[in-house]
């Protein structure tokens, strides 16, 4: 059964149904057929949740993310369970722009397979592609596979969520922010102002509690004003087809999107992730690259 049929059948069933609250089940009456609500997954990896389960997972993942921030799957689950109406809003913003429509049609994915790092390294200095690979090396990260989306019911909205997650590193790059905690928080404020996702607001509201007071002061006095002003006035970054702009000049791109640089950030030693990946593709590409 194709995904769009499933979502439309759910819309029909929601209108034509009677609730059995004690069972948490919606009984659909159609001629010659009576069946329980469809809990078939709408896309690979989809885990359908009802409202109660969604709420429990939202609370549970919030607690778990604070307790153990290394649980990336819990941070992802929190984002998905709290997304609510923000995803249809983002999808509509994408539909309003021609570039966004192209993204929704192509559904590009950003991971180590689809992003050719060797080709990016060959772009001239000053282009977005070169800036991205420089940023990756400077921070020591890779465009690795992020946790796939599980808890969003509509496949298109699930893609929008996935796209947001995968483009996070592009936002880092275009705003010239490293991957330490203050910069991540600054970027969360930026994302909230620009995209309006509740998860960004939650991270922004609670993430700074783990910072030292000096860093928190710097965050709120310098970064947050920049993030809110810049994020609020810039074009919605979810509509940017980053993969088609590798060759574009970075300053021109920033001017087009309406982004200006934040206060200078502290770039620490690169994390170890990228070293291994870089060594691997150096070996594969051989000498002369």
């Amino acid at each position: 059964m194709s995904p769009c049929l499933i979502s439309s059948s759910r819309i029909i069933s929601r209108r034509a149904c009677r609730h059995a609250p004690s069972l948490g089940v919606t009984i659909v009456r159609r001629p010659h057929q009576t069946r329980f609500i469809n809990t078939q997954p709408a896309y690979p990896g989809h885990i359908p949740l009802n409202r109660f389960e969604n709420a429990v997972l939202a609370v549970g993942s919030a607690v778990m993310s604070l307790a153990d921030p290394r649980r990336g799957d819990m941070v992802a689950a929190l984002g998905e369970t709290t997304a609510g109406p923000s995803l249809p809003r983002l999808r509509d913003i994408m539909l309003d722009s021609s570039e966004g429509r192209k993204i929704l049609k192509d559904r590009p994915k950003v991971n180590s397979q689809t992003v050719d790092l060797r080709k990016l390294a060959q772009y001239p200095e000053g282009t977005f592609g070169r800036a991205y690979i420089t940023w990756l090396e400077r921070c020591g990260v890779t465009p690795d596979t992020r946790e796939p989306v599980h808890y969003i019911a509509d496949p298109e909205l699930a893609y929008v969520m996935q796209r947001y997650r995968e483009c996070h590193d592009f936002y880092h790059c275009i705003c010239s922010l490293p991957v330490n905690v203050e910069s991540e928080l600054a970027l969360k404020y930026f994302e909230f102002a620009n995209l309006g996702l509740p998860m960004a607001a939650l991270s922004a509201a609670f993430g700074h509690l783990r910072l030292s007071s000096k860093k928190r002061n710097r965050l709120f006095s310098e970064y947050v004003p920049w993030a809110l002003k810049c994020g609020g006035s810039a074009r919605s970054l979810i509509t940017v087809y980053w993969e088609e702009r590798w060759g574009q000049d970075v300053e021109e791109l920033k001017a087009e999107l309406g982004i200006w640089d934040p206060p200078e950030a502290k770039w620490s030693k690169p994390l170890s992730e990228a070293k291994a990946a870089a060594a691997k593709w150096q070996q594969e590409s051989g000498p002369g690259v």
């Binding site: 059995a20 809990t39 389960e53 549970g60």
Partner: protein
């Protein structure tokens, strides 16, 4: 309400034998829609999936490898601590040590919950320090957790406790000789075994004549109201708790499905009798004792 929905489900099943989708399967197809393998391959159930017999063991192994480290935490969270009451009832009903030292084998006893309770019961109630328990489990990770737990007790490095990695369906004859044990316990483990009759046969072999076979397992809840609440809780909350606490939804989905596939109390009682055990009468309070309405159940038999 339950009878209404059950009759709807039954009538739907009659009308559309292949298309009924039960609400319980979140991530898998309904039992009727699983791929039917060739008839020559012997199959068994892995939760609601049908798998070849040979692969069930490794699938279960993967489940328990991944849950081992958070097993006790998840037990407490998903049963809200009630599993402790069930295990206490189970062991105190057996009264180990009352008639002298017992040689006990606790199968699928990885983390050592039952073994510890047996040794403590014998020591506290009958001042018995000669009873011994051999904990047997197919999964090394679970045994490691049990060994770690026993290090915190007074039984560590004594002959009272030992840990062995073995398959309940085929206990090595050299190590587990015939007619050796007074008590064979298996708690919340038998439903994960590929072939229940094989486990019962091995239990019969290693027990002394007059020895007791005792099994604590999740079972059928006959009360319709309790059953529907229990189902709701099992299929909604437990996989979610698995996701949140252990980061592993699939293992806990398997666990709640395997509970539904386990035979009912009378059926399991018959299997125990067929293995050569003498049981009480076939009703609750006889051959088996329901705990919490049948959510858990204690089955006992004596080797003749």
């Amino acid at each position: 309400m339950q009878t209404v929905s059950r009759s709807i489900r039954l009538s739907a099943r009659r009308a559309l034998p292949t298309a009924v989708l039960t609400r319980k399967n979140h991530t898998q197809n309904s039992p009727q829609q699983t791929q039917q393998p060739e008839p020559s391959i012997r199959t068994t159930s892995f939760g609601y999936k049908t798998v070849p017999e040979e692969s069930k063991e490794s699938l279960v192994k993967n489940v328990f490898d991944s849950v081992a480290s958070s097993y006790d935490l998840m037990n407490d969270a998903s049963s809200l601590g009630v599993h402790r009451l069930w295990k206490d009832t189970f062991v105190s009903g057996l009264k180990p040590g009352r008639k002298g030292a017992v040689r006990c084998i606790d199968v699928a006893g990885g983390t050592g919950d039952i073994a510890l309770r047996i040794l403590d019961h014998a020591r506290e109630n009958y001042a018995d320090r000669e009873s011994s328990v051999e904990v047997v489990d197919i999964n090394a990770q679970m045994l490691k957790e049990g060994f770690r737990r026993f290090k915190k007790t007074m039984y560590h490095n004594t002959p009272q406790i030992s840990f062995h990695e073995a398959n309940a369906q085929a206990l090595p004859e050299a190590q587990f000789t015939d007619n050796t044990y007074d008590l064979y316990t298996i708690a919340f483990g038998i439903r994960n075994c590929t072939s229940i009759p094989a486990v019962l046969k091995e239990a019969h072999r290693v027990l002394k004549p007059g020895g007791t076979f005792a099994c604590l397992e999740f079972s059928k809840v006959n009360n319709p109201l309790l059953s529907s609440l229990y189902d709701q809780y099992s299929f909604s909350m437990i996989p979610l708790l698995g996701t949140i606490l252990a980061g592993d939804r699939d293992s806990y989905q398997y666990l709640v499905e395997s509970i539904r596939k386990f035979p009912s109390q009378p059926d399991f009682c018959k299997m125990i009798q067929e293995a050569g055990f003498a049981t009480g009468e076939e009703h609750d309070g006889g051959a088996w004792t329901d705990l919490w309405g049948g959510i858990a159940c204690v089955h006992k038999g004596v080797k003749v």
